[in-house]
């Protein structure tokens, strides 16, 4: 995966964005920039401020503070100017359920002023892309989730916008459909489309060129998935398998060299300063506690590990400040 950074001019710039709803701060000084042809994933729990940030960038909400520049246009000053350059898929499915596939496409074609042969060609493309051939006259409300999402994407790119905002496009969609959806996004990015996509599926972050981790309205970290994994933990990750997890947890928690222990399913993820030393010391300690069956192995951290660690740190830092 290569990051096409274009001529260096960013497609999307968020500069100190703040959004407050009364006393609640939904977005808290978020800054980043996204280049041409880049896919950036917004990762974070529900209510972290992902949707709010995307809505500000689309000009649907006015930021309380800060500046958003999309396609070189200040969004707050000229929201209408931005709209011809963007495609947007909202979190909630928002095509017209009482219209057919073709009627929806034709409507958005009309709204985006794509006409004649060009519209026919692009509608054809959208239908093929969504795998809806033969269902052109089906009411959209009767389609299954994956089809709906791909059709929504098809509508969002009818006018071939250089910038796409996708707000949790794959939530509630089956894994196969999700995989197909990401293939589509990649082919769009290969054509130079910048994509900002939010998700709460950690595995989807791996599909992105860069990932922005968001928690409680703040940008916790941003980088490519491999970058984040390398620098995110600042140590090595071990997997501990054991029949009596609770006892094992108690045995090694707080031992020198062990920075964190977290339960992952029926295993423990143990973050240590140095993997080699821990591989030597920990089994001895566990054996001493009568846990000889415990097996330790080195693993590559997933983004979820990183996220848990970073969020824990940022939350503590937040409380401390």
């Amino acid at each position: 995966m290569t990051v096409v950074q274009g001529n260096g001019q960013a497609s999307i710039v968020a500069d100190g964005l703040v959004k407050r709803f009364g006393p609640f701060t939904a977005v808290d000084h978020v800054s980043f920039s996204i280049g041409r042809g880049e896919i950036v994933g917004f990762i974070g729990p529900n209510g972290a401020g992902k949707s709010t940030t995307i809505r500000i960038l689309c000009g649907l909400l006015r930021p309380t503070e800060g500046r958003a520049v999309v396609a070189g246009i200040d969004v707050a000053r000229n929201p209408e100017g931005v709209r011809q350059h963007i495609g947007y898929m909202s979190q909630k499915f928002s095509l017209y359920g009482d219209l057919t596939v073709m009627e929806n496409l034709r409507f958005f074609g009309g709204i985006y002023r794509v006409e004649g042969a060009l519209l026919d060609e692009r509608m054809r493309f959208a239908i093929d892309m969504a795998g809806l051939s033969g269902r052109e006259d089906a009411l959209v409300s009767t389609l299954a989730g994956g089809w709906k999402q791909r059709l929504a994407l098809g509508c969002a790119i009818l006018h071939r916008p250089p910038i796409l905002f996708l707000d949790e496009p794959t939530s509630g969609v089956d894994p196969e459909s999700r995989r197909r959806f990401w293939e589509l996004i990649h082919s769009l990015a290969a054509d130079g489309v910048s994509v900002l996509v939010s998700t709460h599926y950690m595995d989807e972050a791996e599909y992105c060129n860069r990932v922005a981790l968001i928690n409680q309205g703040r940008l916790v970290a941003m980088g490519s998935p491999s970058e984040l994994k390398q620098r995110g933990l600042g140590g090595d990750l071990l997997l501990l398998e054991c029949d009596t997890l609770g006892a094992a947890l108690a045995a090694i928690e707080g031992t020198s060299g062990v920075r964190d222990v977290a339960v992952f399913g029926n295993t423990l993820h143990v973050l240590v300063d140095n993997g080699d030393i821990a591989q030597r010391d920990l089994p001895r300690r566990l054996a001493a506690k009568g846990l000889a069956d415990a097996r330790l192995s080195t693993i590559t951290p997933t983004l979820e590990d990183i996220f848990v660690e970073l969020v824990a740190n940022s939350t503590i830092a937040g409380v401390a400040s």
């Binding site: 809505r55 689309c58 000009g59 649907l60 909400l61 006015r62 929201p79 209408e80 709209r83 011809q84 963007i86 947007y88 898929m89 909202s90 909630k92 499915f93 928002s94 095509l95 017209y96 359920g97 009482d98 219209l99 009627e103 034709r106 409507f107 958005f108 074609g109 009309g110 709204i111 985006y112 002023r113 006409e115």
Partner: protein
């Protein structure tokens, strides 16, 4: 403003109405039902008022008098009794609205003194009907007494001394038959248009909010003006279709005389449609739920139109304060125009005043509606 976007919007809206049973019912069924219900149900004429008679004399004269009650269309003699108790029971039981009692000395007093009287007992629980019944009864009796006078003059061999040397001959204009339906039906058309127009559009924006489609619409380059025009255009067409339907109903079914020109009618109907569609749209933009918007639309259009437009209750008879309020009711102008076009055949020139008022109203609503819709989620 792009025509293509307005067209896309209008086509989409039309398809949605076509597939929404609720909208379809408002558009097609409601006008017909309202016309039938209000056209037949609201009738201010008193005809065939049930009457009970008690002839205490049984003479030729008394029977001749009572025969007149039988022969007029205003009354229907439903009961003939021979004692006061039965008469009281008939009035109390609601079998009749009015009872006529001829005294036992009716003929005698008539021949002795040349004057006699009959008694009328009226159920006045509904004062309007009671007044009408009394009026009709008086006219029947006075007609009878006039004939008696002529007869007596003839019998005495006198040259007829003209019992009514001076008589008022009234001639009713515009609604010659004094059929209240002719007066009411044009108002019903206004009522239907007000109701249908604002109900349909009250759903249009709130539906987008409710179904979540507004979020996407707002993210597109469509302008508020394009949204408004695209959305109102189909309803304007539906409104016109409904208006034509109601007007045809009035003329061909209810036989309301139509003396004006179709042009005046359609021109003013277009103005009125702009007002009610705009109002519904304004409500829809402000209230983001379909049910809420439709309730408010009902309150804002139906009540004032029913009570304050002059459609059934004459504005001239209202207290000054209420009369002042009626100037704010859009339907007031349209009802005035409709009645004048239908019954008097007035044209655009004669109706300049209400047309001007309605134009100002339409312009005001259009400006407010165009400004009300903001492409933001907050």
């Amino acid at each position: 403003m792009r025509l293509g976007r307005i067209r896309a919007m209008a086509v989409k809206e039309m398809l949605q109405v076509w597939r929404d049973p609720r909208s379809l019912m408002i558009a097609l069924l409601m006008p017909v039902m309202q016309m039938a219900l209000l056209g037949y149900g609201v009738n201010l004429d008193a005809k065939h008022i049930p009457v009970c008679t008690f002839d205490r004399e049984g003479s030729q004269f008394s029977e001749a008098l009572l025969k007149r009650f039988k022969s007029t269309a205003y009354f229907a003699v439903v009961e003939t009794v021979d004692n006061y108790r039965a008469l009281t029971a008939a009035v109390d039981g609601g079998d009749c609205r009015i009872a006529i009692v001829v005294p036992p000395d009716f003929s005698k007093r008539l021949s002795d003194s040349g004057a006699s009287s009959v008694q009328a007992i009226i159920d006045a629980t509904d004062d309007n009907s009671a007044n009408l019944a009394l009026g009709y009864a008086q006219s029947v009796v006075s007609g009878f007494s006039a004939d008696i006078a002529v007869q007596r003059a003839g019998m005495q061999g006198q040259w007829m001394a003209a019992p009514a040397a001076l008589s008022l001959e009234s001639r009713v204009w515009f609604n010659e038959d004094l059929v209240s339906r002719n007066f009411i039906i044009p108002g019903v058309v206004a009522m239907v248009m007000a109701l249908v127009g604002s109900q349909l559009t009250s759903l249009t924006i709130s539906r987008e909010w409710e179904r979540g489609t507004m979020e996407l619409l707002v993210s597109t380059p469509v302008t508020p003006m394009e949204v408004m025009l695209g959305k109102l255009l189909p309803y304007f067409a539906i409104g016109f279709f409904d208006a034509a339907l109601c007007l045809a109903f009035a003329v061909f079914w209810f036989d309301v005389p139509f003396r004006g020109t179709v042009f005046t009618l359609f021109f003013t109907t277009a103005l009125f449609l702009i007002v009610v569609l705009g109002l519904g749209y304004l409500i829809s933009v402000t209230v983001r739920s379909q049910v809420g918007a439709s309730q408010i639309a009902l309150l804002v259009t139906m009540l004032p139109t029913a009570l304050l437009s002059g459609y059934t209750f004459p504005i001239d008879q209202m207290p000054a304060l209420i009369r002042a309020v009626t100037y704010l009711v859009h339907a007031r102008y349209y009802v005035t125009i409709l009645k004048a076009v239908f019954l008097k055949g007035e044209g655009v020139v004669e109706l300049a005043e209400p047309i001007l008022a309605m134009t100002i109203y339409a312009a005001l609503v259009a400006v407010l509606a165009a400004r009300a819709f903001r492409k933001r989620l907050e």
